[in-house]
Symmetry: C2
């Protein structure tokens, strides 16, 4: 079984020292009470819950999985999951970031991000259930009518009900324009929704008495494609305008999927058979409504990636210290033992430091991103909100795409350190790699994130987010230009930022005459950008550690990990740049039949 201890100290560092959250909360309306003391107390309580309640259910949940009873259309979650959810609700965690008006605690998103990392490190499959409620909460807050918020949002915030997002259909995943689910108006205020949705996380379960589905579908006569999609709210049990729960609605789970990982998370086929539902937001604007939730949802999946890196790192570090195997290349380090610990081997250290660099660098990136989300949601100043929104939109595909891709790399490094023992189910390491594997797929594949970054955020929006971010890096570099201790990071960071700008223009020119150049560059560009963004996070982390009241060993660990990142990871940008510069020709010129 794998171990998990919440990295509270590094979380506080990322939030307060790197992302300067304390000062920010003081000036953001509604956050004033989120003092450092309060946040610390929340994080400590979350650490207790996730370490003691969720973490022990991680492996048993994977072994047991969810069970489906076809006659009752019922899903049973793994043993202990339901009880853990009851404790989660009792602790008030379901309303952590929701407005007080609906029963929530209204804490900043950036605090929620850290709690989410803990939940997912402890048990990412379990974490999918409350995660989906967050999506429903956001949708109702942003697009629901007041009675809908009263009737649906309050029970969700209270944790009595959970939410889902019903997008995918058998013939459409990334391409929602193809969806067929349809809604017939009635002479009442509700619609009758019919269609089949697949891959619905938490579509059915035994946690709560009701489940609220957010469903994308088409109204009669709706335009084809993405401009004809509306969003509907379809509860498992009908709910009237006064919020009273009534009879069973015509929506039910038809099956659950057997998957590579996140086996404790119920992935459902949901059949809507003239189920009663309410329109959320304007007709035909459902995809728009869904997109407004997307930043939060994609940040959340990025955090899943980060969380799995953290747990993988902790366990492979423990193993590398305990497992004795071979002697150091420079001669025995522990001659009184039968062999030296794995830690003495350079490549084991490379795999450990790679995980550490992505875990801590990723955590800094999440803190920076989530505080931007706080500004977007709460700042009193429009200009500040807009700038933050532009940076946030730019960073989101990088956070999602990059942290999930490197979570696959890192969980596999951790397995590799365990050797054959990593491949054995009992030891729990292979589960982390299987769980991580979904994160580059759902909530928009890496390919979709890459097109969002390069196609939408860079080209359609004229790179305003990139420009703001490059300005931020530029200002940071300038600020530290005279600091000798920062020189080893500032020089390469500055050079890479410059190269990034030039490379973006190169791709832009090529794409102007051939849009395939954009698709051909996109995934390499996502990685390339991600490595530079993380280099910036690492440089900021070193600067933050130096300027704070941290111990010498904390500062040294940050500096040495940053140095490793700059020396051994950042060179990966050269490969991606080379591949980008090679262009689309070799991809597109091959006639289909010649593929084989």
């Amino acid at each position: 079984m794998t171990h998990y201890a919440v990295p509270l100290d590094d979380m506080r560092f990322a939030l307060f020292d790197v992302a300067h959250a304390e000062k920010l909360y003081q000036r953001l309306p509604g956050c004033e009470e989120a003092s450092r003391e309060l946040v610390d107390a929340v994080l400590e309580e979350a650490a207790r819950f996730t370490e003691q309640v969720l973490a022990p259910l991680n492996q048993t949940g994977d072994e047991e999985g969810c069970h489906f009873d076809p006659s009752a259309h019922a899903v049973t979650t793994p043993q202990g999951f339901k009880e853990a959810y009851a404790q989660f609700v009792a602790g008030g965690w379901s309303g952590l970031n929701a407005p007080e008006a609906y029963g929530g605690q209204d804490l900043p998103e950036s605090v929620g991000a850290l709690v989410k990392e803990m939940i997912d490190s402890a048990n990412v499959a379990w974490g999918t259930y409350p995660l989906l409620s967050t999506g429903a909460t956001d949708a109702l807050l942003q697009h629901g009518e007041e009675w809908q918020r009263e009737a649906f949002l309050k029970p969700i915030v209270a944790g009595r009900w959970t939410g889902t997002m019903c997008l995918t259909e058998p013939h459409c995943g990334s391409d929602l324009g193809l969806l067929k689910t349809h809604a017939e108006p009635t002479d009442k205020d509700h619609y009758l929704i019919s269609g089949t949705k697949i891959f619905i996380t938490a579509g059915e379960h035994d946690f709560t008495e009701n489940i609220v589905h957010l469903v994308l579908g088409r109204l009669p006569g709706a335009p084809a494609g993405t401009r004809g999609i509306s969003m509907f709210l379809v509860p498992k049990f009908k709910v009237d305008r006064e919020g009273h729960m009534g009879e069973r609605n015509a929506v039910q789970c038809g099956a659950i999927e057997h998957k590579m990982g996140i086996k404790g998370s119920a992935t459902c086929v949901m059949n809507f058979d003239a189920a009663e539902g309410y329109l959320i937001g304007p007709a035909h604007r459902g995809l728009h409504a869904m997109f407004t939730m997307m930043n939060a949802a994609r940040l959340a999946v990025g955090i899943q990636g980060l969380s799995l890196i953290e747990r993988a790192y902790q366990n492979s570090l423990l193993y590398a210290r305990e497992r004795l195997q071979m002697r150091a290349l420079t001669g025995p380090k522990y001659p009184d033992q039968a062999a030296d610990p794995l830690m003495v081997h350079p490549d084991v250290r490379r795999m450990l430091l790679t995980q550490k660099a992505f875990a801590e660098g990723g955590r800094a990136l999440v803190a920076i991103t989530a505080t931007l989300a706080d500004i977007v949601l709460r700042s009193a100043e429009k200009a500040e909100r807009e700038t933050a929104e532009q940076k946030l939109s730019f960073l989101i595909p990088i956070v999602k795409g990059m942290l999930t891709e490197v979570s696959i790399e890192c969980t596999n490094h951790a397995m590799q350190i365990f050797g054959g023992h990593g491949y054995i189910t009992d030891n729990g390491m292979e589960q982390l790699a299987r769980d991580a594997r979904i994160t580059t797929i759902y909530e928009g594949t890496t390919q979709i994130q890459a097109l969002d970054l390069l196609g939408r955020k860079i080209f359609q929006l004229q790179g305003v987010g990139l420009k703001l971010f490059l300005d931020e890096i530029g200002a940071f570099c300038q600020h530290h230009a005279g600091t000798a201790a920062m020189a080893e990071f500032i020089a390469p960071l500055s050079a890479k930022a410059q190269e990034w700008s030039v490379l973006t223009q190169t791709v832009g020119k090529a794409a102007a005459s051939n849009p395939d150049e954009l698709g051909a560059a996109s995934v390499d560009y996502l990685y390339y950008s991600g490595y530079i963004v993380l280099a910036y996070c690492w440089a900021r982390s070193v600067a933050a550690a130096e300027s704070g009241s941290r111990s010498d060993s904390f500062k040294e660990a940050k500096r040495r990990t940053a140095r490793f990142y700059f020396q051994r990871i950042l060179p990966r940008t050269t490969a991606h740049a080379g591949s980008i510069q090679a262009g689309a020709a070799s991809l597109m010129a091959m006639p289909d039949p010649l593929f084989g």
Copy 2:
């Protein structure tokens, strides 16, 4: 369920056109009868068997796994596995490469390598059972006494018995010097072997009436470490010098492992409790004996990697052609359909071509390597055997390390093309990724391969293999220097070969004063070398296609795939070179407590 069709045409191309096997067989003693017609017939028959018998059992074998009965210490393999083995034996496949004197067909290793690729593509878990017999065959041939060959080898070649390799113990995997299993002499010609071995593939099963274990252990008074290890042969049922099978020996399976993948392969804990066994080869020379089998075993695992890439590629290509999702960036390609097939998207093509490039390039590499093995085993000229042995030893860690690492990448690309459907067990794609994951671990992890390459093959042996290989590349480049059609490959290949030589010297200098530099560079160096070796294989493939009687479309496919490889994959060498040049400091300077 995933599809598999043997790529017979490309296999013949790799063997006959790239590796020039026909001429080679004509002049190698014992291979004269392996005419092109005979080999073609063998490959076609193997294709029928693997496609029709083994491939359909791949997914069911994964679902069902092996079962262990603790009271009988018996292992039941998945349904159909035993019957498939009976057909394998009836077809004469168990003796394909074994000498005629012991009942084999004595066909070249390079033909066996292609058959092995088919078996593993069809069902890599099933393929582990005959694979382990090959190891036992080689050990007996090289180190057994004549009576041992008569008594044990003949039934193994006939497929009536199978073999195992018992190396790993709970406290030692990569570091065999630590092993504790011991052997007590008796007043007869056998020893009594006691100890616990883990991760023993095919240690127990229901295929055959007897199982022959090759066990590493220590004789009384043996030197500590790797110089005190002897090899013993321990049959499940005792066998006398006349080859008669007698009573049950004191070796039994104590448990089987639950694993991430290759679930149809029984991975056993084997308990030896004063089991009767015979010494194979000289006392204390067991590790040496094991090493003489290692080239074949590591080539075999490299082939497993290749085989999984091939199956992943075939299925993701089919899916990319059938699945309609989104429009091409340049506008609809199939306006009459609801959407364009995935094939129109540049990044889907990138993922497909990456798989194709590694599958076909890897197959060429395997053919080149396996024909070197044929020369080593059979050439009448000592100088030719020695040169081939030096090249082979140099290539083996690259074949094993590189083809297995890229098999993880490629099976994950294939899953990614399937999107959410790739994560679902039923579709069979995630199994390929799980099965591939063991290949970088067993038979020496990637880290062990990397140290073998850089530490042993380059530095201890003064880089003689690399030099021979660079000479071969140099001669190839010179030969094609005037061919305009080859210029796009020759120029970068020649430059990379030169860079490789210089980089090797740089690492060598650094390692001379600090051995940790070797370990710090090793895995990056393995990848770096692997990408260049595959570039050479691709350039050779283009040249071979051009000079052969292949169709224009075959030639064009080779050229375009090679172009993709050179333009979009080969740039990865720059990242690895950068990481190598950064050296060991950032890895080794971090004090252990600062890791966290």
